[in-house]
């Protein structure tokens, strides 16, 4: 594995331009400042109650995601490239989903294999031939980006269902502004605080045509026990919309209402943060107590907008991912601005043969896995784990893809020993409305706090950083 690209020091050891001030500042401050601020930050986070729960850990009901006080910094030029690439990618994703549930041109053209779509558990036959308001499917997209050198950004993963993490982007910035006013004063950092306004504008723009001029938007959460509940309540608050649970809504005559202290109130747009499976017990899982019976009938009647639409999983599956460059080209006739990580599809015999021969150096991922689960990092795995994965691969090659073990870029991070480089990724949030695409400059930078670790997921010891986009 090659040495990772460090975003502050670069390859020649001199600090790269966006990090000039930060690097100077680090040299000037007394050594205990960072430690002190770090403790202060933790106190603030705990006080505000920004916590998440980890599934499958009985004792840890609410934990803090570790926050690193050193910002990750991008130059204006780097951001411009990312923004253009993100817009392009999300446009293509929307067109692709519309096509898959509609004319199926891309399948007919043989660009994406049919079985990949139709045999995919996240494919929703209920959506076949259905129109969604304004043809928009992915209103909120979270695109995970990694970087391997000064020029190259890769898309690691598309999240087209209910991407989370944006509350951390916003809160991280607030905490940083409180803790490091002097560091901000030495930079010009693009604000992210308008994200909730942009989101609300996006959601209102996609209201069904029958809604009145000021549509009613709600945020649908599975409830307090969901790992992202904090984010749901945070966003509802910032948006100024009701945070509803399934039991707060009901459907009558194909219209959706919420139960209020003044009787039923019509709902036009549901920013739902619950999975397709749980949306409507009449259409999907009958045992779901989280959903709203009859919601899909209202949706199909065009009386309510669901954001994101139902069935978008068909675009963010890891097997579909490998076709994304072709998808961009097919719909937009352009070369993709953001590259994919080179990917072997184990469903194809020659790819599988290569993967089986090179397991020790590859990252193998389960097609439907997420959150860093169901994944094997070859160079970091012992013989037994590799042997186990080999068996799994042979048994069901379709369920896996493989990628080279990439050296994710590193950023200076506060750790026990002081300031040291740690691997990072970036999740910007892309909002697609009827009128236009909105992207707040920055996103959520996740950092693998363990030395050498490439896993940035919060459920596996990852932390977050504030992400700065400079104006030069």
């Amino acid at each position: 594995m090659t040495v990772a690209f460090d975003e502050m020091t670069g390859v020649d050891g001199a600090s790269r331009p966006p990090y000039g001030e930060l690097s100077r500042w680090l040299g000037e401050i007394p050594s205990d400042v960072l430690d002190y601020r770090r403790r202060e930050a933790e106190l603030l986070f705990r006080r505000i109650g920004i916590t998440f729960s980890v599934y499958g850990e009985a004792d840890a009901q609410e934990r803090l995601i570790p926050f690193d006080v050193l910002p990750r910094i991008l130059s204006a030029a780097e951001w411009d490239l990312l923004r253009a690439g993100l817009e392009q990618r999300v446009k293509a994703i929307n067109l692709y989903i519309k096509d898959v549930y509609g004319r199926r041109d891309i399948l007919k053209a043989g660009i994406v294999p049919e079985d990949l779509v139709f045999q995919n558990p996240v494919f929703r036959p209920e959506m076949n031939g259905q129109k969604v308001p304004h043809d928009i499917y992915v209103h909120v997209g979270g695109i995970d980006i990694i970087r391997i050198d000064a020029e190259t950004f890769y898309v690691l993963e598309d999240n087209a269902r209910t991407p989370s993490g944006v509350s951390y982007m916003l809160e991280n910035r607030e905490i940083m502004l409180r803790l490091f006013p002097e560091l901000f004063a030495r930079h010009r950092v693009a604000p992210v605080e308008n994200y909730p306004d942009e989101l609300l504008a996006t959601l209102k723009s996609v209201a069904p045509t029958i809604a009145n001029a000021d549509p009613t938007v709600v945020l649908l959460t599975p409830g307090v026990f969901n790992s992202a509940y904090y984010e749901h309540s945070f966003l509802a608050d910032k948006l100024g919309v009701e945070l509803v649970e399934g039991r707060d809504l009901f459907v009558k005559d194909e219209l959706v209402y919420m139960r209020t202290t003044q009787g039923p109130k019509r709902v036009d747009v549901i920013y739902r943060r619950i999975d397709d499976d749980f949306l409507d017990p009449l259409a999907f899982r009958p045992d779901s107590a989280l959903g709203v019976p009859g919601l899909m009938s209202s949706y199909h009647a065009g009386n309510v907008t669901l954001a994101n639409a139902v069935g978008t999983g068909i675009a963010d599956d890891k097997a579909v991912y490998s076709y994304m460059p072709k998808i961009v080209k097919f719909y937009l006739g352009q070369e993709p601005i953001l590259k994919n990580v080179p990917t072997w599809r184990c469903r194809e015999a020659d790819h599988l043969a290569y993967v089986l021969d090179h397991l020790e150096e590859l990252v193998v991922k389960e097609v439907h896995g997420s959150g860093g689960y169901g994944m094997m990092i070859g160079p970091k795995s012992d013989k037994a784990t590799i042997a186990a994965f080999r068996a799994k691969l042979k048994a069901s090659p379709k369920n896996f893809i493989a990628q080279p073990t990439l050296a994710l870029s590193t950023c200076p991070t506060c750790v026990e020993e002081g300031v040291a480089p740690r691997h990072v990724d970036l999740r910007p949030f892309v909002l697609t409305g009827r009128d236009r695409i909105r992207i707040v400059p920055g996103g959520l930078t996740r950092v693998a706090l363990k030395k050498g670790s490439l896993v940035v997921n919060s459920s596996q010891g990852g932390g977050t950083k504030d992400t700065w986009v400079l104006d030069t």
Binding site: R47, G49, D237, E242, E245, T260, T261
Partner: protein, 313 residues
């Protein structure tokens, strides 16, 4: 607003109020048990605390006898008791979390801070000093929550529903304190006096934080019918039934006005308020204090149910 949100706000306020009330009862109990028996008689104050808290049956299921250790455990820390101080704060915080969007930052800070700090007290105090600190701490946190609600919430339905919770709970608590001690509040012509009664009465007043108020209002030594008068009929006494009902009527009126519609809850609250306004202490004693209070607790519960029916489901 969402019915569920209103319901959560209502119960959030109730549980915080309940925790404070329990702390007051226990503080007084602790105090009375330190007096020589000649002053307070040989009644089991710990048993009386359990009765005042209204959970005698649940207590009996869990412990063989009421003493300092078992009562403190059950009323403060037990998770088997859904109304222990710990359970109250935990439920309040769960409710708060579910309606964070309806709370101000200060309110969330207060209840979340309470919940975080609660862990500091572990499964019970290690000494009486620590226990007294705990009881102070409970009351201070309730004050902080109540104060932040009062000072930071918009005066809209969210605020009014949370106030309804406070006053329904407070009226219930005051009524129950009176009811448990009613055998002490005998009519004027009974032989009264003596140190025993005096300290018991003083304890009642202390438990509703009214000992000083009593002296200001009546400028007399502690007399049982005046205590009853203060806690039932005096509007200026913030924990009196009458004062709670003034507040309930006005908060319900605010909701009715903004929603443009009155209902069973408004009518019920006004009827109870009118009964309190028209009541005379002599008559209450003649008909029986216990019967009066019993009737009131019933009425109060019915109002709670009417509010819930009309707005919270």
């Amino acid at each position: 607003m969402l019915s569920r949100t209103a319901d959560n706000l209502f119960w959030l306020a109730r549980y915080v109020e309940r925790a404070e009330c329990l702390a007051r009862i226990l503080e007084v109990t602790q105090r009375v048990t330190t007096l020589p028996l000649a002053y307070v008689g040989s009644t089991n104050e710990w048993e009386s605390a359990i009765e005042t808290a209204g959970c005698a049956a649940a207590f009996a299921d869990n412990y063989p006898e009421a003493n300092e250790e078992t009562v403190i455990d059950f009323l403060c820390f037990s998770s088997a008791n859904p109304s222990s101080i710990r359970s109250c704060f935990e439920i309040a915080r769960t409710n708060a979390r579910a309606v964070r969007t309806a709370l101000t930052v200060e309110m969330w800070d207060a209840i979340n801070g309470t919940w975080l700090e609660l862990k500091r007290f572990g499964n019970g105090p290690t000494s009486r000093e620590e226990f007294m600190r705990f009881l102070r701490w409970v009351q201070e946190n309730s004050l902080r929550f109540d104060g932040s609600a009062y000072r930071t919430m918009l005066r809209n339905d969210a605020y009014w529903f949370s106030r309804l919770g406070v006053y329904i709970e407070r009226a219930d608590n005051t009524a129950r304190i009176l009811d448990v001690k009613y055998h002490l509040l005998l009519p004027a012509n009974e032989r009264v006096g003596g140190p025993l009664d005096y300290f018991q009465w003083a304890a009642i007043l202390r438990s509703v934080s009214a000992l000083t108020a009593y002296h200001w209002v009546y400028r007399e030594s502690v007399k049982p019918w005046l205590i009853a008068d203060l806690l039932i009929l005096k509007d200026e006494m913030p924990r009196s039934l009458s004062s709670c009902y003034s507040a309930l009527v006005s908060n319900l009126d605010n909701i009715g006005r903004v929603y443009g519609r009155q209902g069973a809850a408004q009518r019920k609250a006004r009827a109870i308020r009118a009964r309190l306004e028209n009541a005379r202490m002599e008559e209450i004693f003649k008909e029986g204090l216990h019967e009066f209070i019993d009737g009131f607790i019933n009425d109060n519960n019915e109002l709670g149910a009417a509010i819930s029916e009309q707005y919270l489901m």
